[in-house]
Symmetry: D3
Subunit: 169 residues, 6 copies
């Protein structure tokens, strides 16, 4: 079974890692789609698609999948063509893991099996919380895989976020 998961991964964190570990129990191949690929250098989307590719590839290293694919995809204006756009950019897949209501509706209308994912500890292990910790100088590193922290350090990702959060004086 080749499964697919979509996220913005700003950044990839332990919640994602646990979820992917769950998926690996029933799927032998995984496609990780990096959504909103065109955004970067904002408070909501600090990291480029390429930086997110590096994080996720590092984090998946050593996972149990026979094969995985990490593919950035830019948003399109129209929701009704989004699944087709995605289908054109990734290898064929049989199952989708998603939580977002829109994503669930869109894939189901195209006939895909959609599994709802349960995220534990969502107050802490969320992109929003981690980005806030980066700006405030808090301990964000414990919330992401070590390999991801290492990628973020190499690009001075937390410093970038702090600079972006400064007031326009």
């Amino acid at each position: 079974m080749r499964s697919l998961i979509v996220g913005r991964f700003q950044p990839f964190h332990n919640g994602h890692a646990k979820l992917i570990n769950e998926i690996s129990k029933t799927s032998d191949e995984l496609i990780v789609v990096i959504g909103s690929a065109q955004y970067s250098y904002t408070l909501e989307n600090p990291f480029t698609a390429g930086e997110r590719v590096a994080m996720i590839t590092a984090a998946l290293k050593g996972s149990k999948f026979k094969e995985f694919y990490v593919i950035p995809i830019e948003d399109v204006d129209s929701n009704q063509i989004w699944v087709s756009h995605l289908e054109a950019m990734v290898p064929k897949f049989g199952r989708v893991y998603a939580n977002n209501p829109l994503v669930k509706v869109l894939f189901r209308e195209k006939g895909y099996e959609v599994k709802t994912t349960k995220l534990f500890n969502r107050d802490e292990e969320s992109g929003t919380n981690i980005r806030r910790l980066m700006i405030d100088g808090g301990n964000w590193k414990k919330l992401v895989p070590e390999t991801v922290a290492s990628v973020i350090n190499s690009i001075k990702g937390d410093e970038r976020l702090r600079q972006l959060s400064e007031k326009d004086e």
Copy 2:
């Protein structure tokens, strides 16, 4: 006289129907422009352009116009080219019916005659109210023409809205 009216029609409702009935007293042809055509599957814009074409064509059936045209038009980034974009996509027209201040300014600067439309019962007969009723399971059907309710039922439009309004857990 060929007149033009612009709306998002999410969905087409009785207020639109009354307004078009008014226009039919002084115009023998009507162009209905479906604006923001590219949006769909959101809380503000649940229906695709094609679904809205079906609703409006069904509703206009039996109207007094000698001819009518129902044409979806995607938004453009730049307001100053919006009227030109629209002119390229529809047959020539002589008069515009509009309420929105921006639409009125843009058409007037191009030299069009713009008539302000008066909508009665706007608290109830508005897209916003009808979409809320769909989500809450209220009686939205009394606020749209029967032919429109029938189109929405055939695509399970209210169920779609309810699913889109679920929480991302």
Copy 3:
């Protein structure tokens, strides 16, 4: 049965009219999609989408369809999302009439029934030939429905083509 036909209609001619007449024998509703809607004022695409809407609506007047829809659609870069883009812009349909190999492949891969259309007298009744006659002052009017000739005259369509074909000196 609601059928769909796609063309550029530069301009709509007698070949199209005969084909649509054939379709009316087995379909009671028709969607006419005006492709490449964004192009106009070129030698290949002289007429705007709106002008083509006017031509086709005039030509279909009096046809046997219970309902018809004339909808302009802009091209998208990616062939694989083209059918989805089209599906979002038109009411649902059950059958497609097409000759173009790409169009046939794309609709078939999405599971649509595609009927190949046979065009008679294609040397004369083709957009290419009619546009050439317009430039050379030949008798193009006999190759299009009278109602279409009347729309083209009202916008001085043949004169526009002649001006566009002048040399850049």
Copy 4:
């Protein structure tokens, strides 16, 4: 030294004029980039790029620069390519004046010298305040150069803003 300054200039005001006067003490050429060029006829962005070109060119008349360039640039989706997009549209430059944190980060990552600009009297001399005064009929003219007020008058810019701010009834 050829320096560059970026702004939306909705409209160009005395604060901009003072800043440019400061820059003229150490730079002999200036590029003024009009950002978000595609927006116009909104409450935040009432003036077209061309109108802003006219304002700024009029205001720079008589400045001490050996040469200046006024160039409108449309936004791009992706922040990481914005500097490249800008580099393609303007002559080469050696220094950037900016206050906005994002603009500062983006230019610095590309290796540019970025000078932070200090704006005095920012409560009054800001686009936001001036646009509010235009809507309310206040004295906005004292906050912009005379030449700019004259351009705005010639296009009835304050009346446009008032019309755009009317309620959709």
Copy 5:
């Protein structure tokens, strides 16, 4: 009178300079629109918009115009909105100088006065010929103003063209 001229200016040459000199006899302001601004680094369009801004501004230095504007404009897909797009990006203008049949048709349909320009010595003084000379190492410098040759030298423009013309081996 504020006049407007459109070109790709790949590069600006003596033919353009003579034409602009002619215009300066009856117009006191000039807008030079750099068309196809988004293209660069191709055999047909080797120079960026910014490089062309630099060439033209240098060439116009010392001309008789009270004011001139040099504004790059990206192409739009649709010819029918091109004039509106241009109107949004430049100050108001009263007259257009053009040779290209499409440009003439589009401006005339919007009601502009369009003057046809006559270019002498077009075999030599054309962008096509000058780009060919650059590739072949011929004497292109005598066909452009000295100030333009100096801009092209500073960016090693002819070397860029030679590299782009190499075979893909």
Copy 6:
């Protein structure tokens, strides 16, 4: 050393495989960029980006790289921003392998080390030749890695090409 190679890979063939084998002698990580990702279902670009991701991932299986990344990238209009667009979509890289003159010029102007690649047997091992063989029913399979032939078979890629090459009758 992390190296980068760009191609359209329509399809990935033995020439690519040999080249990548060469690169693996001096680089321990490789980024394979699939250019013109948005095109598919044409005679020049029959395969979707996702299908090409599948081919290349299959072909690289068992290569000597410590890590490889396969990333589809859509074209942008403007050559001057293409490298920035690419930089945003892939992990950082130190060296580029390229043959195309434009690609070489663009990367060199951004300061990258660019190595020219030598392709042997280019008459046979080229996308153009392989696509022709697919249409004509020739022996294309000997020119691509077995794993790639298997992907193409699973999507009936050669049949798709034959259908696309049929005449529009």
